[in-house]
Subunit: 343 residues, 3 copies
């Protein structure tokens, strides 16, 4: 059997590190495709000139290009037999990714807990994305529910890692050289600075995008994500292709430009839930809530912690969960992240 | 309210200059996408080697990539609340755009005329696209009908700019160094030179393309055009997404290769009307009429003025307007431009 | 008549060489699009770092990018009036294609045979793809059935070239410098080396992709392939757009990663049949059969000859032909090629 059946729950060992396959060199091609697939307009990622005026050598590749590329490589080893993608924590962007960089990924198993039914279990991994110099550019924890294949294999000792509910401001890593003290608000597209946002503020990002099959498949392939349900209409009984959760993340983040144009760079992922599946034909909208704010040591740079919620048609304004505490059926994504803004 | 509601008619002041947001660095990625989205084959924009044989340093980015990029930036400030895109005039490509260039846009309000119903008005802007050295690469006039929000605001004094019906040949700017004296007609794809075209000649470009939703949205996003009607199927009562008029321009121009393969570079836009809306599922064809010809001072380079008409299924050959003087329902686009050809 | 009607059978002369139009400069943009359109993951074509560890200067553009680009240029001269694409033979990749290279194509007519009905004939061409230094990067024979237009033109003397059923191992050209002696199987994605594959072995590549209209049109346009049936839904009575056979080749080759991740580079095309048409909505799967193996002089590099079969929904495992010797209706492609693998 030469093909990859994927790993099952009993195949993971606490502490082992899995080196994921197929490193990837990124270029202006991936950047152009990203901007064709999502209405991305944050100026640092759109213009070399703007990025230089902010102290960077050039425009880096979008923060989520780095995320998707690193994530995609983990799929064949981590989530090919996953029943559910349960959560993210402690994600940090540690260095910008530039056109020409080559990324690879590795994951360490930091937790294992078999479910009481004996048929599946939760695997916790800390994934690192590395560039061609071996520098870690991204680091995050993800946990997924994975099926067991050999039900007779004894459950491992349950180990659940203690994860921070959110990255502390002191833990955030601002890109080297970033300087927002000569920030051009006109070219960036909005006048609102860090000081203009209040904790608790809610922002409806207004715009919507109706999603097509070709788009999410182009995106998901570009990240070399191989999960069958995204591509093969014969995998589900309803004949639908499940849209990669990361596609919804990128859509919602791009839509959040309208109201958060100056939340330029994502630097931490505190948590996230793919609340409901998204399918082609859905019209995706987004809203944000300001969760926290913090200063940074970089000139003119503030950090803002945001909840980013993606919803589909039929959603009520700012509605998130029902009285039962569960996500409403129109909610697609509930993401918690830190971004950098001019102060 | 942190999101952009767009400007309404009463928000424009005669003479004011609006600096548009989000400069954009273009690369080989945008070029590849352009050639995947449109059947573009003009050799100067396809091959570095061919462009060098014509005196250029390399293959520039397609003339319409420059146009769409500059245009897209104006949408949030000019046409977010536009009822209709009424016309173009006096458009000139003043310098080629190269891979690696960063474009930004600004528009000066050169005319304002409130409609007699008091509910909307026409805004005339002269838009300039600039590269990272501040050089103007593109300059054109556009006028749109924009809604009023505060109906009680008094109408401004009506000012309608006097616009040339077409650029005079003397006003055309040939790219520096362009030299068609060693032009390779075989590699360019057709033997017909400037002298082979007669004023009044009509050319049916034969080929057709059936348009898909994913394609026009990829294109329109790539130019960071944010108009809701192109992306959000819930915006119109009929559930259709209106295709960006510029998508039809690029489709028709690319189709015109078959018969006008040597009309290599667009250098002026004399006028244009988006006669009827285009929707996914339409099969777009094109025909051209030679309107004028002129010599230029560049070696071997002639100018040809063309009417480019895009039509959809059901159109009769070369039919444009009905007896009532109105565009026939199958006509999508009526464009008037100058291009450069080998003499 | 300025448009290209295409050539008919009576327009070809034995021995003539046709220089095809529109050279094309390729960049990281084409590479990114290729990886968005197909689930391509072979490491040599994904990572500059991996390619360097294999003795190459950088990651070349995918072997099939070279093929499609060279092939696309031949369409306006060879297959615009083709009734059927009958076969390929003696195809060899002679040098890698790099980002920045400019490709052009030319074809020599090596055989002509009018059909007994007098209404069409078979044209055999040997096509060469050349880079900007005039080096041949790809060379293959293709034969197509082309309609006659002037039925009264006398049939030419029938000449059918003698073509090798498969390239002999001695004829294969390994890219200069290729060295698999320090090959990283972990990063490549699978542990199976050349020695692990046996002649006669069959591999089911498991994964499937449901194809969309937008995808195959983006791909086919990117290669500047102008055949009307791929783009224009009004060309066929059933309103379907026929998918370019090369799209199926690339899909199947990319799917074959799962089981043949180390069959890194295609270096010869022995033959191929587009057994049945593919349409949007079809779910494409693939299987391979090991046909032959050979050593090469390059360090650590073995050659493997593979049959790659693409099928659509409803196909039985490894089924190819019926009792009548004809391809089963679910078979889309039967391709015979040589690839390079680490020994």
């Amino acid at each position: 059997m030469k093909t990859n059946p994927g790993r099952f729950f009993e195949d993971y060992r606490l502490g082992e590190t899995i080196v994921h396959a197929v490193p990837r060199t990124l270029s202006g091609g991936e950047r152009a495709l990203y901007h064709a697939l999502y209405p991305a307009r944050h100026a640092v990622y759109s213009s070399d000139e703007f990025a230089r005026s902010c102290g960077l050598a050039a425009s880096p590749l979008d923060d989520l290009i780095a995320f998707h590329t690193v994530f995609g490589k983990t799929v064949p080893d981590i989530s090919l037999n996953a029943v559910a993608n349960l959560g993210y924590a402690e994600g940090r962007w540690l260095a910008p990714v530039w056109s020409g960089d080559t990324l690879r990924s590795e994951s360490t198993v930091i937790g294992l807990k078999e479910n009481s039914n004996g048929k599946s279990g939760v695997v916790y991994v800390r994934t690192r994305g590395l560039n061609q110099r071996g520098e870690v550019v991204l680091d995050y924890v993800r946990w997924v529910m994975v099926r067991k294949k050999r039900l007779d294999v004894a459950a491992p000792e349950a180990v659940v890692p203690k994860l921070a509910p959110a990255l502390a401001p002191e833990a955030l890593v601002v890109p080297e050289g970033l300087d927002f003290s000569r920030y051009d608000f006109t070219l960036a597209g909005e006048p609102h600075r860090w000081g203009d946002y209040a904790v608790g503020e809610m922002i409806d990002h207004v715009d919507g995008v109706t999603v097509e099959e070709a788009e999410h498949m182009l995106a998901t392939r570009l990240w070399q994500n191989t999960a069958k349900v995204h591509f093969d209409a014969t995998q589900r009984e309803d004949g639908k292709r499940l849209i990669y959760g990361g596609h919804v993340i990128s859509l919602a983040r791009a839509l959040s430009f309208n109201g958060l144009a100056n939340a330029q760079m994502i630097i931490a992922l505190n948590g996230g839930a793919h609340a409901n599946p998204c399918f082609a034909g859905d019209t995706v909208r987004a809203w944000s809530e300001v969760l926290d704010k913090a200063e940074t040591a970089a000139p003119g740079v503030g950090a803002i912690r945001l909840r980013l919620v993606a919803v589909k048609q039929g959603a009520a304004p700012f509605a998130l969960k029902g009285e039962d505490g569960k996500y409403l059926p129109e909610v697609l994504l509930d993401l918690d992240y830190w971004a950098l803004m001019p102060r």
